[in-house]
């Protein structure tokens, strides 16, 4: 028996008879399990209405989408067997798979996809902007779904395979209150695993879906997610082999060098999506409403040192709001030089003279108390900014207070967090800079940045299907945003997830994908 070693029995002082008794009580055939870990109870098991990481990971084994995207970003059919896009880019026709069943045994039809995309994703999904060009969702027959667009939208197809395409059963959701539907905590999907139970604070259990639409998949009998909030406890459990995989957001960056040297452990980073350590600068009040002050920050803060010391080997320089690896990145942008003299000059020009103590004004830097990299970045920034007369006030806050103070009350000078940049900037980046997205909630345009040209260009890029033209539009957006500095872009990074390759193969980082492919294709070694 795997669970009770000889040492254990010895320490407990139990005789062989007792051990035999316990052996005999174990279920006859232990199922093949793959065990993951998440850091909190998921708020929703529902990718259509929430993008929280724990919820995304926990929902992943259960759901399918129309399309799936592999680690390289290539799309293939999932619930849709094939699809066509009209030459004018205005009509998307999806031909759905036959014989797909919901976990409760009801057949999956185009009406489910129509309802999920038209009523849930397009209204409630945090990335709902990705579907805003869709004029109508039509289900002419049970196997066909047609999306008619008001204007062409370049990012639509990737959104359906990734951020904004979860398909839920219409018969369980229609006419219900989406925030309190019991299936938010008891998901019914068409994915490779059926939800079995959720014991808050302990674990989530899923069992193999014998009717999964990919023949021979999944291979594991069960998937279990243990819920371990303490990072040290998570890593101790992984080190001991109590868990087999840790997705990137649950893996502390400080553990990566050690794990990279651990035999049998593979680190897998996303190749299609990066995250950004980004701080909103509050443009509502002086002195930060002055662009010269914000540019001075860029000249005074040593972002290279921050990148190399806080996330060594994991971070890339971020020049502009898009990742430098994005095909739409504007390579002509020039990085701000580290130049404290220039920073002082800009601050003087802006009219903020140094006082008798050498200080000009404070910078209230808000960050999550558990966000260690954000704390270190703040500490380095404090050292960088003191010589130019800006006193950084490090303000660690718990999540509830941070959301209230920074995002609801806008009571901050700078607030940092990590943000997924998405497979397309229309989904992942536009939300930070479009003035129609200034809302008292988190992860939108919380800087209150308003630039009419940027707003107009975001609208233009959405309908532009010529890649060259679209890149040109994005080039101009990046130029303006980079000049205006509404956000402090510390770096992009891609943290890997970890998997015990001695135990399982086919599992890779689980943040960037709807994950079902991971779970469908994971198999014991």
């Amino acid at each position: 028996m795997q669970g009770f070693s000889t040492t254990r029995r010895g320490i407990l002082g139990l005789g062989a008879g007792l051990a035999a008794l316990s052996d005999g009580s174990v279920q006859a055939a232990d199922p093949k399990r793959i065990i993951g870990v998440i850091e909190e109870d998921p708020p929703f098991f529902n990718l259509a209405i929430s993008s929280g990481i724990s919820g995304s990971v926990a929902s992943a084994p259960c759901y399918s989408a129309l399309l799936r995207m592999n680690a390289e970003g290539a799309l293939s059919g999932d619930l849709a067997e094939r699809w066509e896009i009209s030459p004018d880019g205005l009509v998307y026709t999806f031909h759905l798979r036959d014989n797909v069943q919901w976990h409760d045994g009801r057949p999956f039809t185009s009406a489910d996809a129509q309802y999920s995309l038209g009523e849930l994703n397009s209204k409630l999904n945090p990335y709902r902007g990705a579907l805003k060009s869709v004029d109508s969702f039509e289900a002419p027959d049970p196997r066909t779904l047609i999306l008619r667009l008001k204007n062409p939208q370049a990012s639509l197809i990737t959104s359906l395979g990734n951020f904004c395409g979860a398909i839920l059963p219409r018969h369980l959701w229609e006419g219900t209150n989406p925030s309190s539907n019991p299936h938010n905590k008891n998901p019914i999907g068409t994915g490779p695993y059926k939800f079995v139970s959720f014991a808050p604070g302990d674990r989530i259990t899923y069992a193999k879906n014998p009717n999964y639409h990919v023949p021979g998949r999944p291979v594991f009998d069960e998937v279990i997610f243990r819920i371990i909030p303490d990072p040290a406890a998570r890593m101790a459990a992984f080190t001991r082999g109590e868990i087999d995989m840790v997705y990137s957001a649950a893996l502390p960056a400080t553990e990566i060098p050690r794990l990279s040297r651990t035999r049998g452990v593979a680190l897998r980073a996303s190749r299609i999506q990066l995250s950004s350590y980004m701080a909103y600068i509050n443009l509502r009040n002086a002195p930060y409403s002055d662009v010269r002050v914000r540019q001075a920050l860029m000249h005074a803060i040593d972002r290279t040192f921050i990148r190399n010391s806080v996330l060594p080997g994991l971070a890339q320089n971020q020049i502009g709001p898009l990742a430098t690896s994005s095909p739409l990145h504007n390579a002509a942008l020039v990085d701000y030089a580290l130049d404290p003299a220039k920073a002082n000059q800009l601050l003087d020009e802006a009219g903020f003279a140094k006082g008798a103590d050498g200080m000009r004004f404070p910078l209230r830097y808000l960050f999550g108390a558990a966000d260690l990299p954000a704390r270190k970045m703040g500490e380095i920034m404090a050292q960088n900014l003191a010589p130019v007369g800006i006193r950084v006030v490090l303000t660690p806050l718990d999540r509830g207070t941070l959301i209230q103070r920074a995002y609801a009350n806008n009571d901050f000078d700078m607030v940092i967090s990590t943000f997924a940049l998405g497979p397309d900037p229309d989904v992942g980046v536009e939300r930070f800079y479009n003035s129609n997205n200034i809302l008292p909630v988190q992860a939108v345009n919380n800087s209150a940045y308003r630039n009419a040209e940027v707003d107009r260009l975001f609208d233009e890029q959405r309908v532009q299907t010529d890649p060259v033209q679209r890149k040109a539009i994005y080039g101009r957006i990046q130029e303006i945003v980079w000049r205006d500095v509404p956000t402090m872009l510390f770096c992009t990074y891609s943290l890997p997830g970890a998997v015990r390759e001695t135990f399982a193969t086919g599992v890779f980082d689980t943040v960037d994908l709807p994950l079902r492919e991971d779970f469908a294709y994971a198999q014991p070694r």
Partner: protein, 323 residues
Amino acid sequence: MGRGLLALLLRRLLLSVPLVLAVVTLTFFLVRLAPGDPAQILAGDSPSPEFLAQIRADYGLDLPLWQQFTAYLGKALRGDFGTSIYLGRPVIDVILERFPATLVLTLAAMALASFVGITLGVLAAKHAGTRLDTAITAGSLIGYSVPGFWIGQLLVLFFAVELDWLPAGGMTSARVTYTGFAHVLDVAWHLILPAVTLAIFLLTMIARFTRTAMVEALQQDFILVAASKGVSPRGLLWHHAFRNAVVTTVTVIGLEFGAVLSGAVVTEIVFGWPGLGRVFYDAINRRDFPLLNGAFIFSSVVVIGANMLSDLICAALDPRISR
């Protein structure tokens, strides 16, 4: 049960009613003083304003505070503590599901602390003024001062990660499902490190108080009388001195039950133990007001009950108390 004990019990019960009401009122308003919107925490990134408003309406968070309070009080008096905002389940169900894990942990820790603490306290008193006494006293002081989360993490590093003897956390194995007696063993196996971690603080308190009470008892005239009657040293120590000192020990255990419950919060986080302590921690972080209120009320009742039990045990051990 004697009439004195019954009167004591009734008195304590009557006193506890306003106490519980005060706890209900205070916790309701205190937890809402902390900034934070449970709807935003639940909804996550970039929620639509309509979705946020719907969540607020679902849980009555859009009503004036006094209205929320009167509604809550009315329901609470009927035993309905509302629905957890984050978990979407009745508060009482969440608490009753999670409390057994905490009960197992705290009882195991208290049993361990009582056994070891009393033994050390009696030993120190018996050898008062010797090096052994100094060592036990100094050890108690260190155990009392060291934070529980630190001890817990050290124990995990040493016994789980380095030696690979014990599990790093959780209450049961995830790899294999045990049933019957093997399940009990599995839980016991996972219980060792958290129980030891949680016991250390209480153990040192018990050791120190027992030592003091025993030293005092050993200096009493009745000990001299008993010794002159030829009672063995062992009989003097355990039968005569300890019976007098034990009231202090039981009082300490009863009074410190609340501290042990608080300690369980940290211990449960370090060891991923799915008990009521984690419910507190998570409910605070998520501003899950109904769950937090319910957990406060429930644990207050448990602590009041434990104190009453300790009073009754003391009264039974020392009849002078209930007179």
